[in-house]
Symmetry: C2
Subunit: 344 residues, 2 copies
DNA sequence: AGTTTTTATGAAAACATTTGCATTACTATT
DNA sequence: AATAGTAATGCAAATGTTTTCATAAAAACT
């Protein structure tokens, strides 16, 4: 008889305590204007006394939205994604949605599995990173009747709504900067490009630009590193300690660039005197490091925010058409590059 | 009549197409051993053809677990938390759970709100950071019948299960190192300690140690910075440019320490020659920066992993008692500190 | 061949809600 | 005073599953 724990507290318990029917309790939550203020107060009191918490699972069964959004990213644990995730989260949170998150470690099978789980939970919308996904994944998404958006990538012909930047252009910008400064001995430090359209696009932009400038890549100077500052540092050390070293290194992203900066320091090479470095991303810390990292700014925060807004509005019906947003990117000149007038 | 979209595909649709009852379909999912292999095949085929996806909301209504875990963190967008989140996520993922995540930006009201939302979704477990939470929050959690765990903090008397490290000890260790090296002119760079027990505990450990050593803090050298490398850098620059500067700076965490390193560089101060720096955390990048950051290692990955395991097992019933795990912490000597034999 | 056991399936109740429809009790209008 | 209109509430059906119980069919015993 006492109202402490044990007795499960559902809408019936509340109704009983407030001396009304369950319909009235339900209405008092969902259409408060339809119920007498006095009654409402009684109900509120009962709710508080019992610590009642509505069961969204039961609501969801009525075609009512679940209020959740599924977000799948390659990894949470890295500068870039952490920032978009945060922005995306804040943005959808403001619209009242709750995020389900999963990371797949660049394994597209796991991505598919995560997506399926989300759909079992009847998420109202889906967000993913980039446009490299399995055929199955695309089909799965298209089969559902819920909006989906991809972040970080931008192309006019993307299969899903996208909000991001033109990664190829980012590569072009970075390369043009180095080339424009007179560098011809250029090293590349990129993450694996398999199943990673962002990295691949950047790389292709770089290669095109280099080719146009009549510069050809020396295989020894074209190095790959996983997305880790430790890996990047040791890869860069190997490159810098070899007898012949480039005058400039272009990195697929700022984390790798950071690794190069530290590697140079450890090799007693002065930046930018002995080596120029350019990154892509402009992550947190890139402007604070000494000297400040010259990089192509990708507006992570804005991408996350816009994507969150877009998705939320697509769900609530305030926005109906799909959309492709390309954010502006720009090269930020800081202190890691200097003109190079060497013989080539 | 056609099986393309529109017609909602629920368990009835599958049953119809496979020519069995819905009970059989349900069973074929939940207790496959009870249904004839031939029938199962028919059902599987129908499922695939229709693209049926089970509705966990409907399952959840039967007291079946929702398969979700709610995780609330101060912020996603920072080195420390990103790493625990990743580890925690991987760990509970392996147990089949899906994560709901929210960040509150060090606002305990928002934390409470996020928790409520999670509970509406009937999460099976709850994970939060640290032990500074509102009274309401604690009461809310205790009222529910689901396991909860806090990460990053450790104390024998914590109100909830905790898996973390003794932050006070971390402060002690950091301070002892500096003191042991002969430093007496010590500056402190800490984040705001309001609603942040981790920072507060570290600070108190530092203060105690300094006091015991007969060193008193100079207010001008006791500076505060938000948890941002940019802020930390400029705060440190102000400190380092003042006429009197400490011989060593102790930072509340590695991000702030990184700011100090950059600040020193920008002030043309050599580390460790002109200034010793010690951090707390040992985040990614701390060992790669040049010189490597001397810091107190907090095992973020392990904390996340253990907490994920503990929570998962508490949910599945494999583990029943609450638990308090204190991970080992240790000072890692790298290159940012050197003995100091100055007059004080 | 008859009986028991096992295997496979279906019917219907249960889960915690929302909502359309019906009902009651007022208030306003004539 | 009778009627119409409105406000507030309850009843019961519906939502998509799982599960208990009952039943039928098949297999294994006598």
């Amino acid at each position: 008889m006492s109202d402490n724990k044990v007795d499960k507290v559902d809408i019936f318990a509340v109704a009983k305590r407030a001396n009304v029917s369950i319909s009235t309790v339900s209405r008092s939550f969902n259409h408060p204007e339809l119920v007498n203020p006095t009654t409402r107060k009684k109900i509120d009191k009962a709710v508080r006394k019992l610590g009642y918490i509505r069961n969204r699972a039961a609501q969801t069964m009525h075609g009512i939205r679940s209020g959740t959004i599924g977000l799948v990213v390659p990894t949470i644990d890295h500068a870039i994604f952490a920032e978009v995730i945060q922005a995306f989260s804040d943005s959808v949170d403001a619209h009242g949605f709750t995020i389900m998150i999963a990371s797949h470690g660049y394994d597209l099978e796991r991505e598919y599995a995560a997506l399926r789980k989300f759909l079992e939970h009847r998420v109202d919308g889906l967000a993913l990173i980039g446009e490299d996904h399995s055929q199955e994944t695309y089909e799965l998404i298209e089969r559902q009747n819920i909006p989906a958006v991809t972040m970080w990538n931008y192309s006019e012909t993307s299969r899903l709504s996208c909000i991001g930047a033109d990664n190829k252009m980012a590569g072009v910008l970075a390369a043009q900067h180095l080339v424009g400064l007179g560098h011809r001995d250029i090293g590349l430090l990129f993450p694996p490009t398999k199943d990673n359209d962002r990295a691949r696009d950047r790389r292709s932009g770089v290669q095109k630009t280099l080719l146009n400038a009549g510069i050809n890549l020396i295989p020894d100077w074209d190095v790959e590193s996983t997305y880790s500052i430790a890996d990047a540092k040791s890869a860069a050390q190997r490159l810098l300690r070899s007898p012949q070293r480039p005058s400039g290194i272009l990195c697929g992203n700022d984390v790798l660039a950071m690794g190069v900066l530290y590697a140079a320091r450890s090799c007693n090479l002065d930046i930018p005197q002995d080596l120029s470095v350019v990154g892509i991303g402009d992550f947190k810390g890139s402007s604070e490091v000494e000297p400040g990292l010259t990089t192509v700014r990708l507006p992570a925060w804005e991408i996350g925010r816009l994507a969150g807004n877009h998705l939320s509005q697509s769900i609530t019906g305030d926005l109906t058409n799909e959309q492709r947003v390309g954010c502006d990117i720009v090269l930020i000149e800081r202190g890691t590059c200097k003109p190079h007038f060497g013989i080539s």
